[in-house]
Structure formats: C-alpha cells, structure tokens
C-alpha cells in the first residue's frame, strides 16, 4: 500500500462530493482551454480570411465603414453600388498590380436549410478574380466560357450543401433564371466557400444592375505606396477606401475588448474552483479529525499527514484537469457554435483551436492550483494534536 492509495480511497468515501469538486475544477479548466483556444483560432482564421482575399485595398460605395467591412468580409457586398466608370478610372493607375471588380447580390431561397430558407450570395466577378487568388483551385470543372454567360462556379461548401456537380442546372429562385454549373472550387477555408460566382456582365444583367459594382479589390505593386494610393482616391466622390490592415485591426479591437471580459470570467471560474477545493478538503479534514488523530497515534508524523491531505487535493485537481481537457475537446463544436451566434463577424476557419500544448498547459495549471489549494487544509490537518483529535467529540 502507498500513501497515494490512502488519499485516493478517501476521495471515494464521499463520491458525490468529490465528483462535484472535480467537476468545478473541470469546468474552470474547460473554460480556460476554450477561451485560449478561441484566442488562437480566431486570430488565425481571421488573418487567413483577410489574407486570402488577395487584395490589400477594397473600394466600395460610401457608407458606414464597419458595415461595409462586415458585409465585404461576408462576401464583398454592401447593398450600395458604384458606377463601373470608377473602376475604369482607377484601373489606369500605374501603382496597381492587380484589380478586380465585383458585384455582389443576395437572394432569399426558401428551400435552403431544410425549408427554413436562407440567403444565397451571388458574386459577379471578372477574369481577373483568379489572378488575385492564385490559390483558388478547381475541384472539378473550369472557368466561365465568357464574361456574359449564364454560368456559375460554386464554392466548396455551397456545392456540398446543394449537392451540385458541373453540368447541373441551377435556379435563382425569385428571378426564375437558370444557370449552368461549370465548375466547383476546392475548399479555401474562407467565406468564398459559400459563394456562387457568376460572370460579372451576366450578374449585372441578371440582377438588373447594368454598369454597377459593389466593390473593387486592389493589390498594389508596392505595399509601401498604400497610404499614398489611398489618399489619391479620397477626392473621388461617392466611394470609400478600406485597407485590409485596418479591417483586421478594427475586428481585433472589437474582439479584444470582449476578450478582457471573457478572461475575467475564466479567472473567476478558477477562483471559485479553488475555493471549492479548499472548502471540500477542509470539510473532509474536520470530519476526519479522529482518524487523523489515530494516524498520528500509530506513528504518522506531521509530514505524513500533510502529504496525505495535499495528495488528496492534488488528485482532485489532476482529475479535474483531465476531465476539463476532455470537456473542452468534446465541447469545441458547441463553443464554436455559440461564438458564431454571438460574434459580429466570424471568420470561416475553425474558431477554437485546441493544441496539445494548450491542453498540457491547462492541465499543469490545474495541478499547480491543487498544490496551492492543498497547503492550508494540509497544514491544518498536520497541526492537529493527536490527543485532542482522538478525543474530539467525546
């Protein structure tokens, strides 16, 4: 027999109490892992989302910049339009490396989401679109036959959802327009995966928006000219310039202020768990006053008693740490789902990334927490005088 089995068997004495205490630690650990996992995942996904837009600057019609940024990230569409002439003018600028006009349009499809209905996003793009996104690959099919064809290329997820293959016919519900599927993109991990791409001219015709654009994506030859370039566009009436770096910063700022809140929630959860552990162990020490006394009578030193109680506390936290890690792993999808509901803008990739380092770190954190929480109860137990302890309650 070992000291640790004495400690472990004592935890089994009051199973529900031990389990609840372990559960408290587990929840604190799970909250911590999820929050830190979210921190990593969100930054990574957002950076990926923005970098994979392929452009550094987006020109849109004037409007609320935050709304524009959000709509643009969701697929480039504010419902404000600018004239194609703006594009023609900007396109002549020698500082440009690539430029791509876009026309976004949304349609409500009542058959989507198992009959609940949902928004389908159509995006009119020109041939230069692929130049901005050289990583976009076709899973099957190919590019449009012309820039005015009634054809559609579907993002990976949209194609999965609609079960479409090249050659299929697709109906734009409210417009009674049939398009032919010519290609399906590979997964990119960005919002593009959910979009239906249409040739720009065809989009302008189908949605009855001749000569209109919702956005112009621009990549500069030299990123150093960015502020220069932005300034030169300030004089253009009716448009605004959004740099992707700004968008990223704005979103990070929005998220980081709420992160301070969630971090304090995690700290409170940990504090409550620690208090719960101390309380449980203290209670169990006082209940066992006689047993502790008798252990001393039969030869246990202060250190022996200290070790037993300390081990019990640490065991609770070790088990809580393991359970918390498991809950965090199993709960990723739920957490992800909830965050998506709450966040103003959620990037397409995984929002919560739980790494082995994170799991190990949180587990070790729980162990350290147990070591700290155990000191006081263990000290109280080891300080009991044997006679008083044995005769207590007589």
């Amino acid at each position: 027999m070992k000291i640790i089995s004495v400690a472990f068997k004592n935890l089994q004495r009051k199973k529900i109490r031990s389990f609840l205490t372990i559960g408290g630690v587990a929840i604190a650990v799970a909250v911590l892992v999820s929050l830190m996992g979210f921190d990593t995942g969100y930054q990574k996904s957002l950076t990926n989302d923005i970098d994979k837009m392929g452009y550094q600057v987006l020109v849109t019609a004037k409007g609320c910049p935050y709304e524009a940024a959000t709509l643009m990230l969701k697929g480039g569409g504010g419902l404000r339009y600018m004239e194609q002439s703006v594009f023609d003018k900007i396109a002549k600028d020698p500082r440009l490396e690539k430029i791509s006009p876009q026309l976004a349009a949304t349609e409500f499809d009542k058959d989507r989401q198992n009959g609940q209905g949902g928004i389908v996003l159509y995006m009119g793009v020109s041939n230069s679109y692929l130049e901005l996104k050289p990583w976009s690959k076709f899973k099957s099919g190919k590019w449009f036959s012309s820039d005015d064809a009634d054809e559609v290329i579907i993002g990976y997820e949209a194609a999965e959802l609609e079960q479409r293959l090249p050659g299929d016919q697709i109906l734009i519900p409210n417009l009674n327009k049939v398009l032919k599927v010519v290609g399906i993109f590979e997964r990119t991990g960005t919002q593009d995966d959910g979009i239906m791409f249409i040739p720009l001219k065809a989009a302008q015709r189908i949605f009855d928006l001749p000569g209109k654009l919702t956005g112009i994506g621009i990549k500069l030859k030299d990123i150093g000219n960015l502020s220069d370039f932005e300034e030169s566009l300030y004089n253009e009436p009716g448009i605004q310039v959004i740099s992707m770096a700004q968008v990223k910063g704005t979103i990070f700022n929005l998220v980081s202020s709420s992160k301070a809140m969630t971090n304090s929630v995690a700290i409170i959860a940990i504090l409550i768990a620690v208090i719960g552990v101390v309380n449980t162990i203290l209670m169990s020490v006082f209940e066992r006053t006689k047993e502790i006394g008798v252990m001393k009578a039969i030869g246990a030193s202060r250190l022996d008693i200290f070790r037993i109680i300390w081990l019990e506390t640490t065991l609770i936290c070790v088990l809580g740490g393991v359970l918390g890690d498991i809950i965090a792993i199993l709960g990723t999808n739920i957490v992800e789902h909830i965050i998506r509901q709450v966040l103003p803008y959620a990037p397409a990739g995984k929002l919560v990334i739980i790494t082995p380092t994170l799991l190990l770190g949180s587990f070790l954190g729980a162990v350290v927490m147990g070591l700290i929480a155990g000191v006081y109860p263990a000290f109280r137990a080891s300080s009991m005088r044997p006679v008083e302890a044995i005769r207590s309650g007589d």
Binding site: M1, V6, K9, R13, V294, K296, A297, I298, G299, I390
Partner: protein, 231 residues
C-alpha cells in the same frame, strides 16, 4: 526485577477547560516493568485516559519527570514524541478507530507505511491470522463485527513490534463475550510473547484478570495491588 520501561516521577497534567484549570494527573509516581500486564481502573473522570495518553507519549506532561524507554520525554514536543511512539508503542482505542476506507489488511499496514517499512507486508497478514481474522483480511471495517474490528486494531498496534501496548477501554464498546475474547488475546500476548500491556477499563471482572491493578481517583493512585485472579 525486570527492566523498567516507564518511570514516572511526580508527574502532573493540568489543562484549561474554559476558565477552569483541571488537574487531571496529580503528583503521580509509577514504574512499569518489562512483561507487566497492568489494568488502570477508577471512576469516570479519575484521569485514567489522561494517564494512559501521557505514558503512551500521545500527550506531554505539565511538570514532573517521565522516562519512557530511557528517553526523558518530560519536555518533548509532538515532533519528537511521534518518533518514540512509532518505534516503541502500540495503541488500541475503545472506538477501534480504524480507517473506514481501508480494508483490514490495509489498516494493519498503515503504521508500516508511516514507519517507512512497507516491505513488512507479510507481518500484517501474520498478525491478522494470529488474531483469528486470516480469512477476512480484505474486508472493510463496516463489514466486520465490533470484536473483529478491535482485533484488527490490535493487529495494527502490534505490526511495528512495539515494546508496550496501551489500550484505552478496549472492551468498552463490546458485549461481554467479545470483550472477554479481546481480553484473552491481550493475556495471551502478555504470557506467550512477553509483551508489556497497560490498559484502562471500567469492567471490574476483566480488570481483575490483569497481573497488576492500579486504582485512580482524582488523578492520583489510591491503591496498587497484584491480582489474585491472574492465571
């Protein structure tokens, strides 16, 4: 005369209960020799248990001089007393005080663990066999009768081969028959193994079966006699 194991010289024990000072043991002299079997008797509150705790190094004295196995323990603190207990003294209590989460065998092994002798596992099994519980070593205390629990407690007290066994009202929670059985175990340990035993009891019939009987009253010894019933 055989070796003196314990020598108490005008020892006193006072403690405070609320504002009142209680003298539980008063100017008491006592010698305990190797191989003795002593019953300490007396009314409730006469200081039997306090005296036993002091002689067994569970508690310190207030003044006087106390030697236990050549150690002057008069002024020792708990951290030193535990070493003397661990090496020399076994305890049995009225309420058995087994650890409820541990089996009979594990309870008996516990002192070995504290003494740093976990390899002596076999000794624990032997002792349980000796007290007649060879077939119940893996039972939890709650699965054992009172008499069986006290036998486990005796095995636990003996596992580190102490020189003296102290028992505080060891039969107090047992019926007459089990009480006598426990007492018989003590007597056998004393006679066959030469173990020195000091116990307290309320039970005259059992107490009179010890070799020597000490009557306490108000913390002082009022009479010492050799038993005529001891066989």
């Amino acid at each position: 005369m055989a070796n003196i194991l314990i020598k108490a010289d005008r020892i006193n024990k006072t403690y405070k209960l609320f504002a009142e000072e209680i003298r539980a043991v008063k100017d008491l002299d006592l010698e305990i020799h190797q191989g003795e079997f002593i019953a300490i008797m007396g009314p409730s509150g006469s200081g039997k248990t306090t005296l036993l705790d002091i002689l067994g190094c569970l508690d310190g004295i207030s003044n006087g001089k106390l030697k236990v196995l050549d150690n002057d323990v008069s002024a020792l603190k708990e951290s030193s007393l535990v070493k003397i207990r661990r090496a020399n003294i076994g305890f049995v209590f009225q309420e058995f005080l087994l650890i409820p989460t541990l089996t009979a065998l594990e309870n008996v092994e516990l002192p070995l663990l504290f003494a740093g002798l976990p390899q002596e596992h076999r000794e624990a099994v032997n002792l349980l066999e000796k007290v007649g519980l060879g077939n119940r070593i893996n039972h939890l205390p709650k699965e054992l009768s009172g008499g069986e629990r006290q036998r486990v407690a005796i095995a636990r007290a003996l596992v580190t081969s102490p020189k003296i066994l102290f028992a505080d009202e060891p039969t107090g929670n047992l019926d007459t028959k089990s009480g006598q059985q426990i007492f018989d175990i003590f007597r056998e340990l004393n006679q066959k193994d030469g173990l020195t035993i000091v116990l307290t009891t309320h039970n005259n019939k059992l107490g009179l079966q010890a070799k020597r009987i000490i009557y306490l009253k108000d913390g002082s010894i009022v009479s010492r006699e050799e038993s005529s019933l001891f066989v």
